[in-house]
């Protein structure tokens, strides 16, 4: 029963990893940009939520009402002001610039918030749980996190395949030159995609901050989880990304069950295994 419990808890944590990964997958899908600063943006979102909670006294989950638009607005400006200038035939400039952004974000957060670890307190929600079957307790918070992840990915899927904005994303991803002939401004399309991405990042950041302590140095680790979930699931496939997050979460849970020190190792091994057996991931949709 302990093992089944580890799997169930792993699935729920996988939702958080899918939230980390969804934005990464979206940005790569639309503009082939690998955002090295993605993890640091998640941590930035956690601090934005922290400031909102401290200033307004809102519940951390309620702070999303402010944090999501703030981060989305930041994403729009970041893309228009900086990242659009780096996109071209060469893939190196965006990598270097987002790497630089990662360094700046980490050090900026250290400067303002110090290295002390923080946490958002969601009150009772964090401790409430219910008994699924004897031996397996489901926490309301992890369940909420997982349901949110499914809803976010379902929402992104809807935007991608059912709305004019999604059509613009897919068309620009297919052929940006012809997309311009249709009247689409690539720079604006990319900026909307980054706004959407950072909206999702805000949700990921708040759940991360409720679930565990955070400090400015945690970004790169979250980036790795996100990358692994995207690659396990297959590039450009959002539901695949959710499966990737779940596989990562379950592997970590099982690893921890064997030996608490093996938690991260088991996740990385699962990733390596998928990479070795199916280099394009389990459900690939984009080549290259």
């Amino acid at each position: 029963m302990e093992w089944i419990n580890a799997i169930v808890q792993g699935i729920l944590v996988g939702g958080l990893y899918a939230l980390f990964a969804a934005g990464l997958s979206l940005i790569f899908g639309v503009m082939r940009l690998v955002n090295i600063a993605h993890g640091d943006l998640i941590i930035l979102a956690a601090y934005v939520a922290l400031v909102i909670v401290q200033m307004t006294g809102l519940h951390p989950l309620a702070s999303l009402i402010i944090a999501v638009p703030v981060m989305a607005g930041f994403g729009y400006c970041l893309q228009r002001g900086i990242l659009n200038r780096t996109l071209g035939k060469d893939i190196l400039p965006p990598l270097l610039v987002t790497f630089g952004l990662s360094v700046i974000l980490q050090n900026g957060l250290f400067e303002i918030f110090t290295a002390d670890s923080r946490k958002l307190n969601a009150g009772e929600l964090e401790t409430v749980s219910f008994n699924l079957v004897p031996g397996i307790d489901i926490g309301v918070m992890p369940l909420l996190m997982f349901v949110t992840a499914v809803a976010v990915i379902g929402g992104l899927q809807f935007i991608f395949y059912r709305t004019a904005m999604g059509r613009a994303f897919r068309a620009t991803s297919d052929d940006k030159e012809i997309a311009r002939l249709m009247g689409l401004d690539n720079g604006k399309v990319y900026a909307y995609a980054m706004a959407l991405c950072l909206g999702v990042v805000a949700i990921a950041g708040v759940f991360l901050a409720i679930r565990s302590n955070f400090d400015p140095s945690l970004g790169p680790g979250r980036l790795i989880f996100g990358f692994e979930a995207v690659i396990i699931g297959g590039l450009g496939n959002l539901w695949g990304t959710l499966v990737g997050g779940v596989i990562l979460g379950v592997a970590q849970g099982l690893g921890a069950q064997v030996n608490p020190g093996w938690q991260l190792l088991a996740g990385h091994l699962a990733f390596l295994l998928v990479l070795a057996l199916k280099p394009k991931g389990l459900f690939p949709r984009i080549d290259g």
Partner: protein, 235 residues
């Protein structure tokens, strides 16, 4: 309103050190079709690219209804009423037939063309509207590409290599439809390898050779030999 729709004035174009166009000029009247002929590498696609904004050029080199628009972004030019059917069709592979058409009309100006009219012109597209665009035959894909351009309700449509890679019978069908498509006073510039076909449907032609205009006028004003000499540069 003057009858001059588009003027190209001394257009020069470079790819790095290579000069693709050496001062090309032309005037296009409202309505009617201009054929642009010439061997591979003569600069036809570069000229079309400059007009629709995909190839950079000097602001004054392209004048659209009195406004200098050279070098504007393609997304700004389409809003002014110039649409392009690109060489090789270049449909959006991850979009369905209908989504390709809708996207073409995303920035549409007011005008007669909408989904219903495109489907009336090409009924087969209505049948296949939910299929991925790339699952269609070459001729049907070309219909989507033409429909996608029409959806923006252009005043000028640029047709780049309509017949490329299509079966002769399909080419014939598409050419037979051109008069209907252009019926509402739309103008067109047609780039075509098949010179006979292009000259047969055009009121005016321009022959290019190595980035220069080598002959221009009405097709019937010249003999086959004269056109051939301008085309191959053997005069």
């Amino acid at each position: 309103m003057s009858d001059v729709l588009l003027e190209v004035r001394d257009l020069k174009s470079f790819y790095g050190d290579f000069q693709a166009l050496h001062g090309v000029s032309l005037t296009l009247q409202r309505g009617g079709m201009l054929a642009l002929i010439g061997a591979n590498g003569a600069g036809k696609s570069t000229l079309l690219g400059s007009i629709c904004g995909l190839v950079p050029c000097a602001r004054e080199a392209i004048v659209w209804k009195g406004e200098a628009i050279g070098g504007l972004a393609a997304n700004d030019i389409v809003k002014r009423g110039i649409a392009m059917v690109p060489e090789g069709r270049r449909l959006f592979a991850s979009l369905s037939v209908e989504e390709n058409l809708i996207l073409g009309g995303a920035m549409a100006r007011p005008g007669p063309w909408d989904l219903a009219k495109v489907y009336a012109m090409f009924p087969i597209l209505k049948e296949k509207r939910h299929q991925p665009s790339t699952s269609l035959s070459g001729g049907q894909q070309q219909m989507v590409a033409i429909g996608r351009a029409l959806m923006s309700n252009p005043e000028l449509i640029l047709l780049d290599e309509l017949s490329l890679g299509l079966a002769p019978v399909v080419i014939k069908d598409i050419y037979a439809m051109l008069p209907d498509i252009l019926g509402d006073g739309m103008s067109a510039i047609l780039v075509e390898q098949d010179v006979t076909q292009a000259l047969a449907v055009s009121q005016q032609f321009i022959c290019m050779q190595e980035g220069r205009v080598s002959l221009q006028g009405a097709p019937q004003a010249f003999t086959r030999e004269q056109i051939s000499a301008a085309y191959f540069g053997t005069a």
